[in-house]
C-alpha cells in the first residue's frame, strides 16, 4: 500500500517536471522575450542590460530552476500583450471558469444519473431508446455546434436566456461570483449545458451499463426474495454499487471539463481562463500559454493522483496487486 502510494507520487512528480520543462522551453525559446518587451528605439546596450536583468544570460539549467521557483510562487512573468503579471490575470479569470465547470458537472450528474438508471431498468421502453439515440447525437456533435444551436434556440428565437458574458457578478473578497444574482444564474444555464452535455451522455451510458450488470447479480435476486420494495432495491442496493465508477469517471473528467471550457467560453464570450488562453495562442503571448499549461498540468496530475489513491483506499484488490508488483 505504502509502496504503491510512494511510487504513484514519484510518477506524478516526474510528469509535473516534464510539463514544467515543456512550459519552460516554450517560455524561453519560442520567440525572444526581450524583443517582445522593448520598442524599436531601444539600443542594443539597453537590450543587453534587460537581458542581464531578466537572467537570460545565466546558464539554461539555472534559468529552469528559476522558472520552477517562480512557478511555485505563482510568478509566471508578465504578459507580452497586456504588460501585466500573468498570475494576476489568471487569478481574475479563474472564478468564472471554475463556476462554469462546477455547474456543468452538477448538471451532468443530476441529469445523467437518473437517465442512466431509467434506461438501465427499462431497457426496452421507447423513452430509453430515445435517450440512447439522443446521447449518440450528443457525442457526435462538436461542443461548439451544440452551443451555437442552444444560442439560436434560446437566445435568438425564444429570447429567454442571455447568450454571452456572465451577467451581474458579486465580489466576495477576491472571488467574483455569478451565483448570487438572477442574471448571473441565467447566464450560467446555456454554457453549463453546453459544457456538461458530453459528460452527461458519458455518465448516462456508464450508469446504464453498470445497472444492467448489477441487476443480474445474486444479491439483487436475494433482495427481491426478501421482499424488499422496488425503490429500495433499485436505489438502495443497485444504484449505490454503480456509483464508485461514476465518481471516478466524473473526477477524471473534471480536467477535460476545464480544457473543453476553452470552446464553451469562446462560444459564449465567457470571461474565463480558457478564453484568456485562446487569445494568448492567437496573439502568441507565450507567458500566458506557459502558465496555463503549468496550471492545467498541475490540475490533471493532482486529479489523477487523488483518484488513484482513493481507488486504493476503496478497493482492496488494487491494494494487494500494488504490493506484489
Amino acid at each position: 500500500m505504502l509502496a504503491f502510494m510512494i511510487r504513484r507520487i514519484i510518477q506524478s512528480i516526474i510528469v509535473m517536471f516534464v510539463v514544467a520543462l515543456i512550459s519552460f522551453l516554450l517560455f524561453r525559446f519560442v520567440g525572444d522575450p526581450v524583443n517582445q518587451m522593448v520598442g524599436i528605439e531601444t539600443t542594443p546596450e539597453q537590450r543587453e542590460a534587460l537581458r542581464d536583468k531578466l537572467g537570460l544570460n545565466d546558464p539554461v539549467i539555472m534559468q529552469f530552476f528559476g522558472f520552477i521557483k517562480g512557478a511555485a510562487q505563482f510568478d509566471f512573468g508578465v504578459s507580452y500583450q497586456f504588460k501585466r503579471p500573468v498570475a494576476q490575470m489568471i487569478a481574475e479569470r479563474a472564478p468564472a471558469t471554475l463556476e462554469l465547470s462546477l455547474m456543468s458537472a452538477i448538471f451532468a450528474l443530476l441529469v445523467g444519473i437518473p437517465m442512466g438508471v431509467y434506461t438501465g431498468l427499462k431497457r426496452n421502453s421507447i423513452l430509453s431508446k430515445f435517450f440512447l439515440t439522443v446521447s449518440l447525437v450528443g457525442i457526435s456533435l462538436p461542443t461548439f455546434l451544440i452551443g451555437i444551436l442552444l444560442i439560436y434556440i434560446f437566445a435568438v428565437q425564444l429570447q429567454v436566456l442571455p447568450s454571452f458574458g456572465r451577467g451581474e457578478v458579486v465580489d466576495i473578497g477576491f472571488w467574483s461570483t455569478g451565483l448570487l444574482t438572477v442574471s448571473g444564474l441565467k447566464a450560467l444555464i446555456l454554457p453549463s449545458i453546453t459544457l456538461g452535455l458530453f459528460q452527461m451522455t458519458l455518465i448516462m451510458r456508464l450508469v446504464r451499463a453498470e445497472m444492467l450488470e448489477v441487476m443480474r447479480t445474486d444479491y439483487i435476486k436475494f433482495a427481491r426474495a426478501r421482499g424488499l420494495s422496488r425503490t429500495a432495491i433499485n436505489f438502495g442496493h443497485a444504484l449505490k454499487n454503480t456509483l464508485v465508477p461514476v465518481i471516478t469517471i466524473t473526477g477524471l473528467q473534471l480536467g477535460s471539463v476545464i480544457a473543453f471550457a476553452i470552446i464553451t467560453e469562446t462560444v459564449f464570450s465567457w470571461p474565463g481562463m480558457g478564453l484568456l488562453f485562446l487569445h494568448s495562442v492567437q496573439n502568441v503571448d507565450i507567458p500566458i500559454m506557459a502558465a496555463y499549461l503549468m496550471l492545467i498540468g498541475f490540475l490533471f496530475v493532482m486529479i489523477n493522483l487523488i483518484v488513484d489513491l482513493l481507488y486504493v483506499a476503496v478497493d482492496p484488490r488494487i491494494r494487494v496487486s500494488g504490493v506484489s508488483q
Binding site: 510528469v15 457526435s140 439560436y152 480544457a259 476553452i262 469562446t266 494568448s280 498540468g297 489523477n304
Partner: protein, 312 residues
Amino acid sequence: MEDKNIKEETNWFARAIDSDIFYSFTRSKLVMVAAFVTFAYFFIALFAPILATQNPFDLGSLDLMDGLTPPAWQEGGSSKFLIGTDDQGRDLLSAIMYGSRISLAVGFTSVFCAALLGISLGLISGYFGGFIDTLIMRIADIQLTFPSILIALLIDGTVSALFPEVRREDSAFWVLVLAISLSFWVQYARTVRSSVLVEKEREYVQAAKLIGLRPFIIMLRHVLPNVLGPVLVIATINLALAIITEATLSFLGVGIPVTQPSLGTLIRIGQDFLFSGEWWITIFPGVALAIIVLSVNLVGDWLRDALNPKLR
C-alpha cells in the same frame, strides 16, 4: 452443389460479398445508410470543383452585392444561391462542398500521419522492449493525461510563434495536420504495442527470426499485417474525431483562415450573423458537419463490432 461451383471461381469481389463482414453490413439498415452518406460525401468533396456552381476560394468571382442572400425558399432568396450566401457573397452550397473538401483532407491526412507515427512507435516499442519501450510509453502516458484539443492548440500556438513569417493561408493546412496527428498518435502506439507483444511470441515470428530475417523485415512483413485490424477501427473513429478537432480549431480561429473556409470556419463566420437573422450561414455548415461526423461514427461503430469475433 451449384453453390460450390460459384465459390470455386470466386474473385476478390465475390469473396467480399460472401464474407461475414458484408453479411453483418447488410443486417443493419442504419449502417448501410451511414455508409452511403459517407461515400456520397467523399464523392461530393472530391469532385467539388466540377459539382459546385462557384469557386468560393476565388475572391475575384465573388460579388459583395450577393452577400447575405437568404435561401431560395425565403423571401429575397435567389434560385442562383440555393441555400443562401455568406457575408462575402459566397454561394453557401459551393462553400460547403469546398469546405468539406478541406475538412476531409485535413481529417484523412492527419489520421494517416497519426497512424503512421503511432504504428511505427508501437512496433518499435513492442518488438524491442526495454528502455526504448519504457521511454515511448511514458511519453504516451503523459500525453494521454491531456485532452487532444489542448495539445493541438499548444502546437498551433508554438508553430505560429516559431515561424511568424509564414503566411497563414499557406501554412494553416499543415499546421492543423501536425497538431492533430501529434495529439492522436498515442492510441495507435498503445494498441499496436499490445498486439505486437502477443504476436512476437508466436511461432511464425520465431521461424522468421530463425531463418535470419532482419528485425525491420519481420516487423513490416510479418508482424504488421497481423495487428492492422484494430488499427483500422481506431482510424475510422479517429477520422470523425479529427474532423471535429479541425472544425473546432477553425471555429476557435486558429485553423483554416477565412479566405479558404472549412466547415468550422464557415460556422465561425456565421456566428456573428446569428443575431441579425442570417441563420443559414451557421446552420447549414453545422448540419453538414454533424451529418458527416455521425455517419463516420456509425460506420466506425459497426466496423468495431464486425471485426470483433467475440461479438458475432
